[in-house]
C-alpha cells in the first residue's frame, strides 16, 4: 500500500518536473529577448530540478542515497539562481539592454 502511494507520488512529481523543464526549454527557444530567456531558464530549471529530485527521493527510501539527493538538491537550490543572477548582472554590466515596449503606446498593442 505504502509502496503504491510512493510510486504514484514519484510518478506525479517526475512528470510534473519534466513538464516544467520542457516548458523552460521551449521558453528558451521562443522568448524574444535575453532577459526574458533568463526567466525561462533560471526559474524552470530550479523548480523542475526540485520536483524531479523530490520524486527520486520518494523512490530511494531512508538511506545514504536519500541523504545524497537532499545534498544535491540543496546545492542546486543555492547555485542555480545564483548563476542566473550572475549571468544577468554580467550582461547588464556589459551594456545589454532589455527590449522594452514603446512607452507612448498604452493600448497594449505591440508596435
Amino acid at each position: 500500500m505504502i509502496a503504491l502511494a510512493l510510486d504514484v507520488g514519484s510518478w506525479i512529481l517526475l512528470v510534473a518536473g519534466s513538464f516544467i523543464c520542457v516548458t523552460g526549454g521551449v521558453g528558451m527557444l521562443r522568448f524574444p529577448d535575453f532577459f526574458t530567456r533568463i526567466h525561462a531558464a533560471g526559474v524552470t530549471d530550479t523548480l523542475g530540478a526540485g520536483l524531479i529530485f523530490t520524486g527520486l527521493m520518494l523512490q530511494a527510501g531512508l538511506s545514504l542515497v536519500l541523504a545524497k539527493l537532499v545534498m544535491i538538491l540543496l546545492f542546486m537550490l543555492f547555485t542555480s539562481p545564483t548563476a542566473s543572477h550572475a549571468v544577468a548582472k554580467a550582461a547588464l554590466h556589459s551594456g545589454l539592454e532589455p527590449q522594452l515596449d514603446d512607452v507612448d503606446d498604452r493600448s497594449g498593442v505591440d508596435s
Binding site: 545534498m71 546545492f75 543555492f78 547555485t79 545564483t82 543572477h85 550572475a86 548582472k89 554590466h93
Partner: protein, 316 residues
C-alpha cells in the same frame, strides 16, 4: 565531431568550451560502459579543472589563434596513414566485452576474484589502483608533481607584498550575492572533497577526484574574493610544501613497508593482520595522492593568474 571543430576553429574560447563538452561526452561514454570511477574523474578533471585552467591561460595568450602560414599537408598525410593503420589493427581485436579477450584472461580474473580476500575493500578499482598497481599510481603522482614544478619553473612570479592589488577593485568586487553564497558553499564543497577522498574504498572516489574537488573550491574562492586574499589564506610556502608532502607520503609508505620487512609498497607488512595493513596502506597512499593533486592544481591556477595580473599591471 567536437574534436574536428576543436582543431579547425581559431576562436580559442569556443575551443575551450568545446573541449569541455568533449570531456562531458567521454564521461557519458564511460558511464554507458559502467565505469563509474573513470566517469567521475573525467567529469571532474576534464569538464571542470581543465576548462578553468585553460580559461586562465586565455587571459594570458589572447582569444584568437594566429593564422598558420603554411598548410600542413605532410603532417596531415602522416596522420591519416597512421590513423588508418590503427583502425585496421582494431578490426582484428575481439568484440567489446567478450569473455575470451586476452585482457580478461590473465591478470584481471585474479584481481577480481582475490581482491575481497586479500584486501577486503568493496571498490575493486581502488584496490587495483592503490594496491595491486601501486607502482603505476606512484608514477602518476610523480607526473602530477613534475607538472607543477614545470609550471613553476617557467612561469613563477615571486609573490611581492603589494599594497594595492589590481584584483581588489575589479568588477567581481561588486558581486555581493555571489560572495555570500560562495561563503556558504565553499566549506560544504571542502567537506564533499574529504568525503570523496575517504569514501573511495566503498564507492567511486579516491585521491585524484578528491584533490580536484578540493582545488576547485579554492579556485572558486580565489575567483570571487581576489587572488591576493586567496594567497593570504593559502600561502606560497605552504602550497609548495604540501605538493611535496603528498608524494613523500606515498613514497614514505613504501619505505615503511620495506623497513617493516616486506617489499616496497607491500602493505601486508604494515599491521598485524595483512588485510588491516592493506587498508592502512591504501588510506595513506590515497591521502598522499589527494594532497599532491590538490596542491599542484592550486599552484598552476595561482601561477597562471598571478602572471596575468602582473602583465595587466604593466600594461596600464
Amino acid at each position: 565531431m567536437t574534436a574536428v571543430a576543436v582543431v579547425l576553429m581559431r576562436d580559442l574560447f569556443a575551443v575551450v568550451m568545446l573541449t569541455g563538452i568533449y570531456s562531458l561526452l567521454s564521461a557519458s561514454f564511460f558511464v554507458v560502459f559502467d565505469a563509474v570511477d573513470v566517469a567521475f574523474t573525467e567529469a571532474a578533471v576534464g569538464a571542470g579543472i581543465s576548462t578553468l585552467l585553460m580559461l586562465s591561460t586565455l587571459t594570458l595568450t589572447g582569444r584568437y589563434a594566429k593564422e598558420s602560414t603554411q598548410k600542413p599537408w605532410l603532417a596531415l598525410a602522416i596522420v591519416t596513414v597512421t590513423g588508418a593503420l590503427l583502425i585496421y589493427g582494431t578490426l582484428d581485436m575481439p568484440t567489446i566485452g567478450s569473455a575470451s579477450a586476452p585482457i580478461h584472461q590473465h591478470v584481471a580474473p585474479r584481481y577480481l576474484n582475490d581482491s575481497m580476500q586479500e584486501i577486503a575493500v568493496p571498490n575493486v578499482v581502488t584496490s587495483v589502483l592503490a594496491s595491486y598497481r601501486g607502482y603505476d599510481t606512484l608514477g602518476e603522482s610523480f607526473v602530477i608533481f613534475t607538472a607543477g614544478i614545470g609550471v613553476l619553473a617557467l612561469l613563477m612570479v615571486l609573490q611581492r607584498r603589494r599594497a594595492s592589488d589590481v584584483d581588489a577593485h575589479g568588477p567581481m568586487h561588486q558581486h555581493l550575492i555571489l560572495r555570500i553564497v560562495a561563503k556558504i558553499l565553499i566549506p560544504l564543497i571542502l567537506l564533499f572533497a574529504l568525503y570523496v577522498q575517504f569514501h573511495g574504498d566503498y564507492g567511486p572516489g579516491g585521491g585524484f577526484q578528491a584533490g580536484v574537488i578540493f582545488a576547485a573550491a579554492i579556485i572558486l574562492y580565489s575567483m570571487l574574493f581576489g587572488l591576493s586574499a586567496a594567497r593570504q589564506t593559502i600561502s606560497q610556502p605552504l602550497i609548495f610544501a604540501l605538493s611535496a608532502v603528498g608524494v613523500l607520503l606515498y613514497g614514505g609508505v613504501g619505505v615503511a613497508c620495506m623497513l617493516l620487512g616486506g617489499n616496497y609498497l607491500d602493505y601486508d607488512a604494515l599491521a598485524e593482520d595483512p588485510v588491516a595493513g592493506q587498508h592502512l596502506g591504501i588510506l595513506l597512499v590515497e591521502l598522499g595522492v589527494g594532497i599532491t593533486v590538490a596542491s599542484v592544481m592550486i599552484i598552476i591556477f595561482f601561477t597562471f593568474n598571478g602572471r596575468s595580473l602582473s602583465e595587466r599591471g604593466r600594461r596600464r
